[in-house]
Amino acid sequence: MSIWVGEDAKVLIQGVTGRQGTFHGSKMVEYGTDIVGGVTPGKGGMTVSLHDRMVPVYNSMEEAVGETMAEVSVIYVPPPYAGAAIKEAASAFQSVRGGGLVVCITEGIPILDMVDVVNAMASYPDVRLIGPNCPGIITPGSNGGSKIGIMPGHIHRKGRIGIVSKSGTLTYEAVAQTTGIGEGQSTCIGIGGDPVQGTGFIDCLEAFESDPQTEAIVLIGEIGGSAEEEAAEWISANGTKPVVGFVAGSTAPPGKRMGHAGAIISGGKGTAAEKISAFRSAGIHVADDPSVIGQVLADALIEAGLRDS
């Protein structure tokens, strides 16, 4: 098992004919992801070469899902059109196959567009959105696996650690270190760093908690907002599996990019120190230095009787 994406998931790429879509499409195919088609309006009927596979291009998501019965779509569409692309994918999954997963990699979508998109998602209750502005989701397999996004595939290995993070590159750091101590990953999810987004920490924690393959969780946050505090509260109340946490930004200067009234709404929540203290109160094993995430994880596994040394 894994969460949300199986090793053999059928995947579509929206924006497949663009530079990023083609580059990362090739990397996904190379990793073993089953890319069954792409969507670029106006380019239906073309084929795109991704690594060693020729992939058909469709004009719309509805057509693409109908033809391929894909269950996942990954979006590499530029910011002005990305919000519409998410809604198109969600609507197609809901109406054609009664559900699906939309992963939006695009960075720089206006916040009010995302407010609109996240509210629209309520009309597609069986569709999950991950992102935007995120590295995506990966379920490493016994042979290849399903890499849906921009993460470097080769650092992953199938295993029992679930990883969830706001930050793309810090997720890779955590993955490389879990692999480094001889562990592997069940599923890794980058939820993205945008203020308004689809899947949040708690969605991931719930899914990891009920996934039998996942035996421990790594949770990586950063300053701003209060998602880390809420995740810590959830873990306190519901968590049974060991969790290792890290929060980036202990040395970040206050005030930068954190709006005046924004600081009020979080009621003093938002600094790394507060998030770390919320983590500790919830029994999360905190790594003070991102370089020791692997070591802290090993210690947590030993303490839980899940590892000998």
């Binding site: 530079r19 990023q20 990362h24 990397k27 910011p79 002005p80 990699i105 960075e107 720089g108 979508i109 206006p110 916040i111 009010l112 407010v115 609109d116 996240v118 509210n119 590295p135 996004g149 921009i150 470097p152 650092i155 993070s165 706001k166 930050s167 793309g168 590159t169 810090l170 890779y172 750091e173 490389a176 760093g193 308004v196 990586i220 950063e222 300053i223 907002g225 209060s226 890290f246 980036a248 930004g249 202990s250 040395t251 970040a252 200067p253 005030g255 930068k256 709006g259 005046h260 009234a261 924004g262 600081a263 009020i264 709404i265 003093g268 003070d288 230095d289 991102p290 370089s291 020791v292």
Partner: protein, 392 residues
């Protein structure tokens, strides 16, 4: 902007020198006026104006009420060309180059109002309090119940009913409550049409006549929406922004200058913050936050590296890249191009991992440049701190 959207404001005139302020005073009818420093930061009323050369205090308060021509002249002279330090500018303050002279009004009461995107509710949020003109952080801390809130339905604006209820919660009745409700509804439409990320009106005043007027406001726009607002370029005041931060932004980089001596170039905001954290953990001080972002090209990397090299405080550089969307070969070529152009006398530690890592490492190795490679973030941080402290 407010006036065009039906948000009442007082008459006023922008000016850039003392003579302009005096003719503004004439134009506004020579009554009581407010003389306001215009900088992109809040807390101006309680700020302090300093002489840029000597650092001597010129005047307390960046917003002054003037009752005569003589006072307008005095205040304009003390404000223009001097540096205003407020709670939000940091100790270095900001040079005031613009002044706003505003007609006076008889204030019955001052309120506070802010509109922003509430990330957890996926909607717009209005926060208002009866205690205007003062620091809202203090109100939030000392008397949180004094702040009243309403939320929008998604990206739609606010209804008159909601806004009237908020008005009543603030103790407004009759014409004042209607005026308040219109103001908030119009402000919501403005917020959405103009892709704002925050509007703060402080103070929002009830006049003796019963009307509601936005006396002072701060508006922030959502940078991500620039593509549909070419008009923003006209309201930008580049002299307000750090030259180097402007250049970084124009190149698509995210850069924040800090006080240390180790320049960093990192991909991803989280990893960039974590890199700063680890440098500090090993006893160093980061000179900057620099995220080269996702799909950077070679030119952007070259600019990023140049920005670091131009900082006179930088004594060493740590490049930390974990390639996902970013490819290590692009980083390597960008570094070589920048060093070729600007030279390199400081120690440089480069940690590459992820997409195209082998190509990137090979490019750096074959370049013949004196680069210290590192395999992990901790090793990279330790190396650069030792190189600087050891003076190697």
């Amino acid at each position: 902007m407010f006036r065009d959207s039906g948000v009442p404001v007082l008459d006023g005139v922008h000016c850039k020198d003392v003579n302009g302020a005096l003719s503004a005073y004439q134009k506004l009818g020579r009554g009581t006026v407010a003389v306001k420093s215009q900088i992109h930061a809040g807390g101006r009323g309680k700020g302090t104006l300093l002489c840029p050369d000597t650092g001597d205090v010129q005047m307390e308060g960046g917003v002054k009420i003037a009752f005569s021509e003589h006072e307008v002249e005095e205040y304009a002279r003390n404000i223009l060309g001097n540096v205003l330090v407020t709670k939000q500018t940091g100790p270095e303050g900001k040079m005031v180059r613009n002044l706003y002279v505003e007609a006076g009004c008889s204030i019955a009461h001052e309120y506070y109002l802010a509109m922003l995107v509430d990330r957890s509710a996926n909607s717009l949020l209005v926060m208002a309090s009866e205690q205007g003109g003062v620091d809202i952080e203090d109100v939030a801390e000392n008397d949180p119940d004094a702040i009243h809130r309403i939320w929008s339905e998604g990206r739609n604006g606010f209804t008159h009913l909601q806004c009237s209820e908020l008005g009543s919660a603030l103790g407004l009745v009759g014409e004042s409550c209607n005026s308040f409700s219109d103001l908030v509804v119009n402000l919501g439409a403005l917020f959405i049409d103009s892709d704002c990320s925050m509007i703060e009106i402080n103070p929002l005043v009830r006049t003796v006549g019963g009307g509601m007027i936005a006396l002072d406001a701060k508006v922030s726009f959502d940078d991500n929406a620039l593509f549909r607002h070419p008009e923003w370029e006209n309201v930008r005041d580049l002299s307000e922004e750090e030259e180097i931060e402007v250049r970084a932004k124009e190149t698509g980089l995210s850069y924040v200058k800090l006080d240390g001596d180790i320049g960093c170039m990192v991909n991803g905001a989280g990893l960039a913050m974590a890199t700063m954290d680890v440098i500090k953990l090993y006893g160093g001080e980061p000179a900057n936050f620099l995220d080269v972002g996702g799909g950077a090209n070679e030119d952007q990397v070259t600019t990023a590296f140049s920005i670091i090299l131009e900082d006179p405080n930088v004594k060493g550089i740590l490049v930390n890249i974990f390639g996902g969307i970013m490819r290590c070969d692009i980083i390597a070529n960008g570094i070589i191009a920048a060093v070729g152009k600007l030279g390199l006398s400081d120690p440089l530690v480069v940690r590459l991992a992820g997409t195209n890592v082998d190509e990137g490492k090979a490019i750096l190795k074959n370049s013949g440049l004196n680069i210290h490679p590192a395999d992990s973030l901790a090793e990279g941080a330790e190396k650069i701190v030792n190189l600087i402290q050891g003076g190697v």
